[in-house]
């Protein structure tokens, strides 16, 4: 890593931070104005409770938007839900939104979905914004050149009551990925590789600026996949500078500026991108050609290997990692030193705020069409939003998946964190397109997760084991021109 500090210009993070700084607080933190606040049913009901207790109002209700995603059943959405607690949470959010005058994209509105999927697709997420949401994957919105923070419930209260929050400034690390991605290598592999290289705490105290020819060529949805997992590398914020791809994605979306306002907005957005020669606290350069399809083998997203590598051994691990490797191997029950390829999977999950967008569903459908999920494997496809669901149905993708033996579900977070009925049982092994392989993450205290790209999940589903998508399918190049 080299550390150029001599740059003259400003990076996007610095520009957006400055434009939203209300004042410096006595302890040195900054009171930062939050332009867009997104809320959901898990982390906001308590915040509304705090507002009521303190007798506080919401002064800028037009800057908060709500949806329901974490607890929503994906098989049937008939209410009342079988789970009374889940019903209580959605009811609490509906009541609060009415009481405080907040727009709510409810079930069946045609706009409900995972909060980090619907913000962009509705055009709410725009370059140069500060965004907060009580969810760590809020970093997703950085794909548009926004500075987006995952926050806790007390900060949700702060944003509701003041539209501001108290924050320490972040350092900025520019991560450049240059060159051409190999066959079967997706945005998911790029971010898993970055986290593997820099570690799960490597980004603590940093915002990650993702750049280089690979990001220039990426679609908005690919950029979102990468920014989404910034937090898995310890970086609370991740972003990509806005460019023509960003503007083309946003144009015509319901909340995007229209007409003359559109032209003025694009001019403003262009000026927000990091200046050539901007200063960074750190710069990391990665060669795209070194990245191969990547899978996790352990219990955090940094414990990853290329699919054609072997599971690590305790003996082979550096001294400071031995305990962690031993703990992960014990939990995952994967044979140390053996290929990960061939590990038998029980469940395959395509979904989550990382990989549930229409481009993910189109890409995988292209390859699974006319093929069959292996006997004994439960395979789920969970679109990220009602809009994606409807678009996929319009294109006949649901039919392709169903005929291949996948269950086609309704929109929500589903098995990424299993707050709804979609859960692993016992120590089932799940090939998952989600973002976390933590112990117990997918709903069973002993359930096991292997993170990978959606096409790698499909390869696992069809073969019943961890497989190399480059061997299962005749893959075509993506993400490069």
């Amino acid at each position: 890593m080299d550390t150029p500090r001599a740059g003259q210009g400003q990076n996007l993070f610095q520009k957006v931070w400055k434009a939203h700084t209300v004042r410096t607080l006595p302890n040195g933190q900054v009171q930062l104005f939050i332009g867009l606040h997104l809320i959901h049913e898990v982390t906001s009901p308590q915040a509304f409770g705090m507002l009521r207790d303190l007798g506080l109002k919401v002064p800028y209700p037009h800057r908060t938007f709500a949806t329901v995603d974490h607890i929503v059943p994906t098989d049937t959405r008939a209410e009342p839900f079988r789970d009374e607690l889940a019903q209580g949470m959605i009811d609490a959010l509906r009541t609060a939104c009415k009481e405080f005058g907040i727009a709510f994209f409810d079930l069946h509105s045609g706009r409900q979905g995972i909060v980090h999927v619907i913000g962009p697709e509705l055009g709410l997420t725009q370059p140069g914004q500060t965004i907060a949401c009580g969810d760590s994957h809020t970093s997703t919105h950085g794909a548009f050149g926004a500075i987006a923070f995952g926050i806790g419930t007390s900060q949700v209260r702060d944003v509701l009551a003041t539209q501001t929050m108290a924050l320490d400034p972040l350092k900025v690390r520019r991560i450049e990925v240059n060159g051409k991605l190999g066959l079967g290598v997706y945005a998911k592999d790029v971010i898993l590789h970055i986290i593997r290289k820099l570690g799960v705490k490597g980004g603590t105290g940093y915002a990650y600026e993702f750049a280089g020819s690979v990001f220039d060529a990426f679609s908005m949805e690919e950029r979102m996949t990468v920014c989404n997992m910034s937090i898995e590398g310890g970086a609370r914020v991740g972003y990509v500078n806005p460019d023509a791809t960003t503007f083309a994605y946003l144009k015509g979306r319901p909340y995007a500026p229209q007409g003359a306002e559109w032209d003025a907005a694009v001019a403003r957005w262009k000026a927000l991108a990091s200046d050539p020669g901007a200063a960074y606290d750190d710069v990391v350069k990665i060669d795209a050609a070194e990245i191969r399809p990547t899978v996790t083998w352990g219990i955090n997203p940094g414990q990853a290997i290329f699919v054609d590598e072997n599971v690590p051994t305790v003996e082979g691990a550096p001294a400071e990692q031995k305990a962690g490797v031993a703990e992960a191997l014990e939990y995952m029950k994967l044979p140390a030193g053996a290929p990960i390829k061939g590990a038998k999977v029980d469940v395959c999950f395509i979904g989550s705020c990382t990989n549930s967008r229409i481009s993910d569903l189109r890409e995988v459908a292209k390859y699974v069409k006319g093929r069959r999920v292996a006997a004994g494997v439960k395979a789920l496809v969970v679109p990220g939003s009602e809009q994606i669901r409807d678009q996929a149905v319009k294109e006949g993708l649901d039919k392709i998946y169903r005929e291949a033996g996948f269950e086609w579900r309704d929109a929500g977070c589903s098995m990424c964190l299993a707050m709804n009925p979609d859960k692993l049982a016992g120590d089932q092994l799940c090939a998952s397109s989600s973002n976390r392989n933590f112990k117990g993450r997918q709903g069973s205290p002993t359930g096991r997760t292997i993170l990978m790209s959606p096409l790698m999940v499909a390869a696992a589903a069809l073969t019943g084991q961890v497989s190399d998508c480059r061997e299962v399918f005749e893959v075509e190049a993506v993400g490069t021109d």
């Binding site: 040195g28 419930t153 117990g440 205290p445």
Partner: protein
């Protein structure tokens, strides 16, 4: 509303070893189906305290008599990584934890704890090892996290610690919950809002 000034936290200590302990482990998502934080304490670190099949207690240090009412939690590096759920520090606080000592902390968790008045102090690996040794020799030893002197003590063993200066100041001065200060800045926030070009309220 005036908040207490938190200059030190004293009591018994308990260790949950390991690096990268994520907030899913501190409180599994299945216990987050609630609309208040009340009652979360019983679910703190649930999956290491109870057998996943039988549900029987596993005699985890958190449940042992010698660590009863422990106020100080000691753990490894990158403590609290993962989800932003405030349910994690809320569960720890309701379990009785009033300070956390670790090698390092994930950022969102650190901020969530500070806002609840839970100091999170970092102690170097070798020094933390000394504290843990002291604790295993004398599990019921009295312990203290001293934010003024920047020291952590377990029994006779005292080691230096660090904490972000802004958080330390906020805790020492009783301003760890920022809401009061943020409300004081409302007029300035309103001026800034009027200059923002996006999501402008239409008449």
């Amino acid at each position: 509303m005036p908040l207490p000034k938190i200059k030190h936290v004293a009591g018994r200590a308990v260790c949950v070893p390991g690096d990268d302990i994520d907030t899913d482990r501190i409180i599994p998502a299945r216990f987050m189906k609630c609309v208040t934080f009340d009652g979360l304490g019983q679910y703190a670190f649930y999956d290491v305290r109870f057998d996943p099949d039988s549900g029987k207690p596993l005699n985890h240090p958190l449940d042992r008599l010698e660590h009863k009412n422990a106020a100080i939690l000691i753990s490894g590096n990158n403590f609290g990584c993962g989800s932003s759920r405030e349910h994690a520090p809320q569960a720890l606080q309701k379990f009785g934890i009033r300070a956390v000592v670790a090698g390092s902390f994930a950022e969102i968790f650190f901020g969530n704890c500070t806002t609840l008045g839970i100091p999170c102090v970092s102690v170097a690996d070798a020094d933390r090892e000394k504290l843990v040794q002291q604790l295993s020799a004398n599990p019921a030893a009295d312990a203290c996290v001293d934010l003024e002197a920047l020291k952590v003590r377990v029994g006779e063993c005292s080691v230096p610690c660090t904490i972000k200066e802004g958080a330390r100041k906020a805790l020492l001065e009783g301003q760890w919950d920022a809401i009061g200060l943020l409300l004081e800045g409302a007029a300035q926030a309103g001026q800034l809002e009027a200059e923002l070009h996006y999501l402008v309220k239409r008449a």
